[in-house]
Symmetry: C2
Subunit: 455 residues, 2 copies
């Protein structure tokens, strides 16, 4: 039934209808229109509401059938029962629907029945749909934002390469807000809620061939059709890295998932096996997934697990080395040859081993020298952990390290712990797409992902 | 030799001499004087430098022996060799020294010899000393700040109950900066570097009886005298919680530690056993230690492990439930009785189980109702995880939850993920000493500490 590329129009829409559009700021639809306009969507926007002639300068239609254009995405921001009513009317011009409304399977038997009817109508009319009980799409490539939470409350990330697929809308909002706050971007974020139709497998099939997407992150409560997921995920993994967080692993979480999106979690072991078989990198927690998103925006996976650590804070270097080894990465010491080269370039106070500790007397050029001399064939990636306290370290060092990284085939991960001053100093990295990790733990989580995960 | 209370004067000084004082902003000593003045130290400050008559309006002395007052703390901010010279002169009035200078054991054989001589002189003259190669003391109770990193670069936390002991100065700076940035405070922070004399055991002995200290956090690269440490830690644990992070567990980290503070790490298993024997709560990483510091500022340990989760974000509730169970905590479902009570107070859209999911339609009073009805004898602590997207949730909810928490004997932990808006909304908690955790992972780490750690 479903063919590859079938849901492309969700990600390359030329026209969007907003059903239930309203100028009343207390309505979700008002925020959605605001989000769409703010995002700068270049196609047609058709507000639909029989109560209005015009909203925000856009002509308002009484019903979607009155729009003479085809509609790539019809956003339904009306009560559950109204969704069904409208879909029962003339909707031949609608290709795809995003049903943000709640009140379906997640509320119990009555809602479940409603959702079954919704599914029937959608199939009968040949309309592909995301949701219900979802936020829909935030897409930096197509400039679509259907989220009903304003950007004052949840900041929108800039454009970058990671696409995020999630059942949970709150999860989508949380990771977007935090990514933006940490200077990281995204490609496309899809929140598909109860998955009456479009699910992770449909999205993976699209994203596999999507040029805007460099890597995919999945938040999974449940997967409906395991066989199809395995096939879609395997195909996607051949093109780009896929990471996944499975929640509802433990009984209480599974219990909550079933009332959240009406999902039946199933046995965690089955997911674990499927991830392994498909080549998906599994992460264990929200923080790991966020770190994965940040690092995969910029760097491809590496083949080995040998980490070079360069720092000006001895204690942090040690913490990073410990965390690497505990996670199954390796922190091999410098070769005799490298030590000899480094000794010539670094002052006597520096500790010339792995971790290389440039100490509080560090100058900008010592970081560059350490990278140039030590980050050779012996290592697969390097973690550069900067503390900004040292008096001779300047903001210029970020540019110098970036220049090195831009000319380097292997990943250079930046760790910059601390508060306001550190974030300001490190902002030179993020503005040009170098992810910055703010704790030793975080940068190691990112390194583990690049090395293919914990197994 | 060493008796309890012997190092009290480091934490209740009446007079501080700054040896090597200078008005030159490029000198570390200039920053130290700035730190002391900014902190508002109420005792006497004596700059010492033969080259000046006066610095920052304070009379400057050519040598410590010229000061007629006793000196509780003499901060040495001069080169290593000068430290020895001065100590060989008249220093009878010095009780304690903080030697921030590097150039001792951490630089190799020559420095090691220098440190041995330093130790001899200190013993001969009966001067207790912290350092060398350290930052010294940041103390919100005695208003002492000997850190040579300016508060522009490393923010200083406000006063609270956790005291932090660390060999690594960079670690002290990092955790202080981040704690301040997250609205968390500290009692006393001691960075003792190479530990020529004062070490974790001395400090633990003092902190055990210290009224300003509610709990103690240790960053350990190595412990010199294991037997003494065990005794001091055990005594402290009887009075207040002690958490510890051991670094240099793995070979590369241990290698780095030995060149960092000249420490020999020893076998990790021995530390693990000692921590267990002393009743110290061991944490596995920097982030865990930071979360422990934040939570122990406010809450005592609890006896059980039963966690109630209340949220308005389904996906986050599930993640928290998973993380709790994985860490050995329990997330038992609500009793029939509690469900019946809650159903009367919460609207139909709420999911009345554990996690309680108030959904995006939540109002302030639903949080209060959930706490009042569900957080009874069945649970030992509760995690309240707020997403601020829901339109009917107001900033007032923080005050209401705080009021509940202030009248509650058991811990109420706040999780508030997200960026700028969330931090602003959650700031009402932190200003009154309620710690806020910014990710599901983080709040669970804090809960694990309150439940006595992972074992």
């Amino acid at each position: 039934m479903i063919t590859e590329g079938h849901i492309d129009f969700f990600f390359k829409p030329e026209s969007i209808a907003l059903i239930g559009a309203s100028p009343n700021p207390e309505k979700l639809s008002c925020t959605i229109l605001e989000s769409l306009l703010k995002m700068g969507f270049q196609g047609k926007i058709y507000p639909v509401n029989p109560g209005y002639q015009e909203i925000r300068g856009l002509k308002c239609y009484p019903a979607p059938g009155e729009i003479t254009d085809k509609i790539d995405i019809a956003i339904f921001a009306v009560p559950a029962s109204t969704v069904l009513e409208i879909l029962n009317g003339p909707v031949e011009n609608i290709k795809g629907a995003i049903i943000v409304s709640s009140g379906f399977r997640e509320i119990g038997p009555e809602g479940k029945e409603m959702e079954a009817r919704l599914k029937e109508i959608l199939e009968e009319k040949g309309i592909r749909a995301m949701g219900p009980n979802c936020l829909g799409i935030y897409d930096t490539a197509s400039k679509v934002d259907t989220f009903f939470i304003s950007s004052d409350k949840v900041e929108r990330p800039a454009r970058d390469g990671i696409s995020v697929l999630t059942q949970s809308g709150s999860f989508a909002a949380m990771i977007m807000d935090e990514m933006a706050n940490e200077g990281a971007g995204v490609a496309r974020v899809v929140s598909y809620g109860n998955k009456v139709d479009v699910d992770e497998s449909d999205c993976l099939e699209f994203l596999a061939g999507d040029e805007a997407t460099k890597a995919v992150a999945l938040y999974i409560e449940s997967v409906g059709n395991g066989r199809r997921f395995l096939a879609a995920a395997s195909r996607c993994v051949q093109k780009k890295p896929v990471v996944a967080l499975k929640v509802g692993k433990q009984e209480p979480g599974a219990r909550a998932a079933s009332s959240h999106t009406g999902a039946i979690s199933g046995r965690y072991e089955a997911y674990e096996a499927a991830f392994r078989k498909a080549g998906i990198i599994e992460v264990a927690s929200y923080e790991e997934l966020k770190d994965a998103c940040k690092v995969l925006n910029r760097f491809p996976l590496v083949r080995g697990k040998r980490v070079l650590i360069i720092t000006d804070g001895g204690g942090i270097g040690i913490s990073i080395a410990d965390a690497c080894e505990e996670a199954g990465l390796r922190v091999p010491d410098l070769s005799r040859k490298t030590v000899n080269k480094l000794i010539k370039k670094l002052p006597a106070f520096a500790s010339v081993r792995n971790p290389v500790d440039l100490t509080g007397s560090v100058k900008d050029e010592h970081y560059v020298a350490a990278l140039q001399e030590a980050f050779g064939d012996e290592y697969d990636l390097t973690i550069v952990s900067l503390l900004w306290g040292p008096p001779l370290l300047s903001k210029e060092v970020a540019k110098k390290i970036k220049d090195f990284a831009n000319n380097c085939e292997k990943p250079v991960l930046i760790c910059s712990p601390g508060g306001k001053y550190s974030r300001e100093m490190a902002s030179d990295f993020t503005v040009t797409g170098m992810p910055v990790f703010f704790t030793p733990d975080s940068v190691v989580r990112a390194a583990v992902v690049l090395c293919g995960g914990k197994r």
